[in-house]
Each structure stands twice: as C-alpha cells, then as structure tokens.
Symmetry: C2
Subunit: 285 residues, 2 copies
C-alpha cells in the first residue's frame, strides 16, 4: 500500500495519530521536500518517528517514482507531504502512477494552508480560486495570477496567494555546466509578493487592484508563532520584519467581505484607524 500522509503545517506533532501509526509501520518513509516545508528539520522528524526519512526532491518524485513505489504492492510505503496530500498537483501524478501498477493507495488527510488561513478571520467560503506567485526574474514574469485575481474580485471573493519556495534548485550557471551545486533555499516573503503584484498592476493597468487594496499577510500559519498583518497592499510591501521568518502567504480581500471579517482582522491591522476607514469607505475595496 502507498500511503500519502499529510503532516500538517508546523511541527512534528501536527501529524495525526493515524498518520503516525502508518509512519511507524511502513517499510520506507519518504518526505516530499520541495513544494512546502515544515518549521522543523528532517532530523527532528527522524528522532520523533524513531526511524530514517528519505528526502524526496522534485527530481525523484517526477522522474524516479519507480523507486518510491518499489514493492508497494506487498509492503507499506509512506510518502509524507507537508500540509494535506492533495495540496499540490504532483501527488495526483504519483497516485495515478501507483494505480497503473495496481498498487493500492490510501490518503491520510491533514490541515492545509487552504483551511489554516481561516485563522486570519476571513471566512473560508468567501475565498475564490487559489493562485501561486513565483519569483520573478528579469526575463520571466508570469502574470496568469493577475487574471485569476481579477476573476475572483469580479465576484467579490478573497484570493489566497501561495508564495514560491526554492529548495535544492541549481543556479542557472551550474545548470548550464551540469554541476549538482544548489542555491541556498529561498522563501518568498509577503513584501516581495506585494511588490510583484503592484508591479504587474502598474504594467497591465487593468485596475484589478490598487496600492490601497486591503490585504492580509500571514506567516507560519498553524504554528504557535503564527502571525498576521493586515493593511493595504502597499503597506504589506514593508511588513516583512513584522511578519518574521517563513513561510509566508498573502490574502487579497474581495469586496464581499462581511463586517465580522473586517472586525476580526482589525486586531492584525498595522494601523487600526486606517483599516477601519478603508473597510467602511469603499465597498469594492
């Protein structure tokens, strides 16, 4: 059996009791370590589980899944995923490949950023589609997120923006030379995301949002050090210090926000009076 086990959002104790039982009895334990990370190291997990954990990077999952699925028809293999196993497309691929090989698959769900973000006070049923923001380069600035945000805002919905992480990525130079030398890991901050969003609005000028549009920056959702900062998109460009270490996410508010949502989020506002003024001033903010 292939088990996809969600680890939740923050540390080794966010695994479910059911998930921990699977980990303890599996023949091999893989940790998917490129779409998200926990706030604790591999070594903490290994000592908590009392057994070794094999790091599965993108290359292994996408090009070498036979190794992960080896003997899984007769043995239990645990594939650990930060958050919920269905948070990222990649895992659907792995499940499909297992099915082709007649390997039974079971999922152990867990908290996902998609529901954990509710802690910021916005109602989950008022969120539209989720978008991803990648690190822009001089030559690569994908703007599909902008069209998705427009769609969400056109019907008054909030947008959760998931921020890029770069783990074990070769530098362009090393890639060209075929060297397995990796860049240090990078995690996009709320400030970087907000600036990229404003850059694209300035470029496209289709008034999907503006510097004064309300947003909430989120850091380490689900952890005891969880932190939210509410303000305008422009305010959030300089709120990284306030938010602290990764992982960060951002929510752009939609116009249908309920008064209770504004009230709840007010406690996180950088400037509470400004927050209240903007919440009540513009119903389409």
């Amino acid at each position: 059996m292939l088990y996809l086990v969600g680890l939740g959002l923050s540390d080794e104790t966010d695994i479910t009791v059911k998930g921990l039982e699977v980990v303890k009895r599996a023949s091999r334990v893989y940790l998917e370590a490129y779409t998200s990370i926990l706030l604790v190291d591999q070594s903490v997990l290994e000592s908590y589980y009392g057994r070794p954990v094999i790091i599965a990077d993108r290359d292994m999952v996408e090009s070498n899944s036979e190794e992960i699925l080896r003997d899984a028809r007769t043995e239990d293999v645990a594939f650990l995923v930060v958050g919920d196993p269905f948070g990222a497309t990649t895992h659907t691929d792995l499940v499909l490949r297992a099915r082709e090989l007649n390997i039974p698959v079971r999922t152990v769900p867990n908290a996902s950023i998609l529901s954990g973000i509710g802690a910021c006070g916005l109602q989950l049923y008022n969120f539209g589609q989720t978008v991803s923001m990648v690190f822009f380069t001089d030559t690569w600035k994908p703007t599909s997120f902008y069209d998705r945000v427009r769609e969400n805002r056109s019907i008054g919905l909030h947008t959760l923006v998931l921020l890029d992480i770069k783990v074990k990525e070769p530098s362009l130079e090393n890639l060209a030379r075929g060297r397995a030398i990796y860049e240090p890991p990078r995690y996009m901050t709320v400030g970087q995301c907000a600036r990229q969003m404003l850059d694209i609005e300035a470029e496209r000028q289709e008034a999907v949002y503006e510097p004064d549009t309300l947003a909430i920056g989120a850091a380490r959702v689900g952890a005891t050090t969880e932190k939210f900062v509410a303000g305008t998109l422009e305010d959030l460009c300089t709120a990284d210090e306030e938010l602290g270490p990764p992982l960060h996410s951002l929510v752009l508010l939609g116009g249908r926000a309920h008064e209770l949502e504004y009230d709840f989020a007010r406690q996180f506002a950088l400037d509470k009076e400004k927050w209240t003024r903007l919440c009540s001033a513009d119903p389409n903010n």
Copy 2:
C-alpha cells in the same frame, strides 16, 4: 487558554498528536456536535481520550458561551470541532467572545472537507467559493446557492456544495408547544441535493447548469470507506445507494477542468463511456 482543536474528518485517530495532548491535559473538553459529525460516537472518543466529553449543541455555543469559557483565563479548555476549527462561522464568534474576556485562544488545525475533497481528483486551486445546501421545506427554499454557483461557473470554477445536517432539532410542532423533544438526526444525501439543485434550475431557468452537467458525489471523505461517484447531476439523483451512509458532499464541475482532472475522476464514473463523452464534448460542461 481556550483551545479550538480540529478532529479531522473520520474517526478518533484523525486527531493530531498536538491536539490529543491538549485534550488530555484540559480541564474541560467540549465537542461541537451540530455543524458536522465524526463517523464514530461520543463514547468512542471518550474511551480513546480516557475522559468525559461534554456535547456542545448550537444552543450552548450561541447562547451560553460563558459556561464554555468559564475559568479559561487560568485553565485550559478544549473545544473540539469536526474537521478544521475555521470551517464554520460559529467558531469565529466564540473566539471573538473569548478575546473580549481577555482569554488567550489557540487553534490546532486539522483536515477539512475543503481540502479533503481533493481526493476526488479535482484540483483544489480550481474551486471557487463553497456553498451550503439546506433541506428545503414547502415554504422555505433559499436559492442563494444558485447565484454563487453561477458566479463560480461564469469563471470556469468547480463548486463544493456542503450538505445540511439536522442534529437535535425540535420539530416545528414541538417548537410551537415549547417541548424539548427532538427529531431524529437527518443528513442530506447527494441525491437530495442534486434534486434540489435541478428543482431550482427548473424554477429559475437561468441556465446556470443542467441535468447533464458533470458532478461528483462524495461520501465519508477521509475515511477508509470514502466513496466517490462521478456522473451528471441527473445521474447523481439516484446514486445514494452506491454512495452509502453519511456524510455526503457534492461537487459541481466548472468548465475549466483540466484533462488530468477528468481522467482521475473517470475511475469513479457510474458510466465511464458517458463520462468520457461528456468531458470531451462540451468545453463548458
């Protein structure tokens, strides 16, 4: 401290290790038992936790929260919620009331139907806003869901429909006579939901969807007995037997579904050839 502890979706072992530690050391343990249910009884939880669990019905949470929050400034109180604590509005209210009383609040996230539904093969980032379907009566047929579904489908997104449950509800007759006698619990099925949806389309005739629109019925998401059935909305009207016992949910597909999503869901199709034909025939299905 008030702890809101998510229990996940299915049985007593879906609690996280962190959540279980909170339950074991709290002074009092409440179980919110009216917005959703686990697939196991209170007695199973009590024996698993090794301690009594107080059932918190809607009346207690909404009108008697002082009792829940009593002494929570100095003691730990655990408030258990099926799924994730932020799945339902009610809990935001409880958090706000705790804050007013200067009671610190911490949340222990867990799997929610909002992410668990990903097991049906549809990508979570292609979902729009979530809607709820209540049991219609002769005189009460709220149709706000219809407008929300229209919005989602207008931008190609899937809609998760959460189905009504009635637990500890007085009958209208007993309510009128002030008697505390309750109806047996009722859980809406996918069939009932699909019929209500088609009834409202027939009434409003705004072509938001049609009997041939693709949908997926889901039962006991996250449990080992999890079951999905894919077909048209009309097919799902008679698929309750196939789906089995509660809890049920329904997903109405949006037109932007990716081929991989159709392929994955095909394994759940009542009629695989019809599924493939409808998936490829109409890009706006």
